[in-house]
């Protein structure tokens, strides 16, 4: 398949008819290629269990996982746990983004503030955030507050670093254009700085969200009565591997959807971006 792709790239556009046929193939061959391995393994495992080569108790076959998923969804359990987890991520993400954006913008803008607080924040960043868990539980109790705080800490650092870096690396020449048109203060921020940092900001938000999903699992491990993390722990304690895998799948799906939301909402503002596009994506 990759051979087809390569020859499509090398061949000059001398035969336009053939070329469109190949580019359709090239466009789908990439994702398709990536699906072969997981689908093959899933089907293979299913067949192996059906054939009695394994009892599939510790590694449930896809049909059992699907059945568990459907069962959880039918009773409303899945929705309840997913909603609890999503609520924690949204709250922690919101707090982490607000604080990270504010501090990142201020430290990026002012060298004095950066010298003053950035070293401390960098030192805190060096601590593996899970290490905070006992302290947060002591301070905030075992319920929602400590969980949301842990997620917020996880989200904070990538957002803070991303915003600070973006503000610091705004092109001096572009800022000078703003000055030449007598912009200052709020107008300079709105018309020059904000649009200039937006692409980097979206990347920072996405990595912050990724960490948010990671930390929600850690937070729910430390004792929760609901949430997808609870389903994981529960599945382990009661020896229900299918439930664990179902929860993992739910994490993957919801995580990906929230990431798409960020990309989709910001895309209209980033159409101007002069990005590298692979030939396959452009064709």
């Amino acid at each position: 398949m990759s051979l087809v792709r390569m020859s499509a790239a090398i061949e000059p556009a001398a035969q336009p008819k053939q070329k469109t046929g190949k580019s359709v193939l090239a466009r789908w061959s990439g994702p398709a290629l990536g699906l072969i391995l997981p689908l093959g393994l899933a089907v293979g495992w299913e067949l192996a269990v059906r054939a009695g080569l394994s009892n599939g108790r510790l590694v449930p076959p896809p049909s059992v996982i699907y059945a568990t998923f459907a069962e959880l969804a039918k009773t409303g359990e899945l929705q309840r746990h997913a909603a609890a987890t999503l609520a924690r991520v949204v709250a922690g993400f919101g707090i982490g983004v607000v604080v990270g954006t504010l501090l990142g913008a201020i430290t990026g803008y002012s060298m004095l503030v950066r010298r003053f607080i950035d070293p401390s924040l960098q030192a805190l960043r060096a601590i593996p955030s899970i290490a905070w868990v006992p302290l947060f539980i002591l301070w905030l109790g075992i319920f929602e507050a400590s969980k949301v705080t842990l997620i917020a800490v996880g989200v904070f650092f990538p957002v803070y670093l991303g915003v600070m870096g973006a503000v610091m690396s705004v092109d001096r020449k572009i800022v000078e254009v703003g000055r030449a048109f007598r912009l200052s203060g709020a107008k300079m921020v709105r018309r020059i700085l904000l649009p200039a940092v937006l692409p980097a900001y979206v990347i920072a938000l996405r990595s912050g969200l990724g960490l948010g999903w990671m930390f929600v699992v850690a937070a729910e491990f430390m004792g929760a009565s609901e949430g997808l993390g609870f389903l994981l722990v529960d599945g382990q304690q009661l020896g229900k591997p299918a439930q664990i895998v179902a929860a993992i799948v739910a994490f993957a799906v919801i995580g990906k959807i929230t990431d798409w939301l960020i990309v989709g909402i910001t895309a209209p503002f980033l159409r101007w971006e002069d990005r590298f596009k692979s030939p396959a994506a452009e064709g």
Binding site: K173, I174, E176, V177, R179, A180, F181, R182, R191, I192, P195, A196, L198, F269, R271, W272, E273, D274
Partner: protein, 258 residues
């Protein structure tokens, strides 16, 4: 009327980039500034624009001291410096934010027609060629109708044909409202085609070395003998400006003989 009174600049690192420049430019005049690299041409232009403040002396526009960017002074940089998140039309209208939308649209459309880019109005800057982008930058600077337009080697990154084309465009636009043009250039032909007066600068510290009047009729014929005479005059002055005059400079020159 733009007046420079003893404008000098010493940078924070101690470089004495500019020394007491006096210059007076009347309405509608086009002045070209030529000189070797590092002789303070950009420094001078930035001081006039108000982007930097001079260490000595002052810049006066119609008797008013210029201390920060001024609405009657526009500047075009060596690179187009278009804002990548605005369309071509958005960039051209950047300086008209506080005008009513109808007026803004009309003036942007007119300016784009004047630089021959009206069908590119809704494109992104990344979709333009270098010459087109620089034309957008010229339109952006001219749309607020400045009285003074400063140009810092605006065409130096372009090929010879595009450069000649843009010089004609610039003169056409200038003829509309006849602002003062102050143009820094490395290209002697460009200076002679455009300017009424050519100032030759001398380095370390930067100062005006010679002033040559180019009183040729417009439009200027690049092949005429009068054009050639002015060009050779400028070349000779440039040559002399780069040679050491006083013996005190001899040591420095010796250090650079290789």
């Amino acid at each position: 009327m733009l007046t420079l009174e003893g404008v000098g600049k010493t940078y924070a690192n101690g470089v004495h980039a500019l020394d007491a420049v006096n210059l007076s430019v009347g309405p509608g005049e086009i002045v070209a500034i030529v000189g070797g690299s590092g002789c303070g041409k950009s420094t001078l232009l930035r001081a006039i624009s108000g982007l930097d403040t001079p260490s000595q002396g002052r810049v006066l526009l119609d008797g008013e001291k210029v201390t920060k960017p001024h609405e009657k002074i526009g500047i075009i940089f060596q690179e187009p410096r278009l804002l990548p998140w605005l369309t071509v039309a958005g960039n051209v209208g950047f300086g008209l934010e506080d005008r009513p939308k109808a007026e803004r649209d009309a003036r942007v459309a007119e300016a784009l027609t004047r630089v021959g880019l009206s069908e590119k109005a809704n494109m992104w800057p990344r979709e333009l060629s270098g010459g087109q982008a620089q034309r957008v930058a010229i339109a952006r600077a001219l749309v607020p109708r400045p009285e003074v337009l400063l140009l810092d080697e605006p065409f130096s990154a372009l090929d010879a044909f595009t450069r000649v084309d843009l010089q004609d465009h610039l003169l056409g636009l200038w003829a509309d409202t006849r602002p003062i043009l102050i143009l820094v250039t490395h290209d002697v032909d460009e200076a002679v085609v455009l300017a009424d007066r050519i100032m030759v600068m001398r380095p370390r510290p930067g100062r005006i070395f010679d002033e040559i009047a180019a009183d040729l009729p417009r439009p200027r014929e690049r092949q005429s003998s009068a054009f050639d005479r002015v060009r050779r005059h400028v070349m000779a002055a440039l040559d002399r400006s780069l040679k050491p005059v006083a013996p005190s400079d001899a040591n420095e020159a010796a250090a650079f003989w290789w």
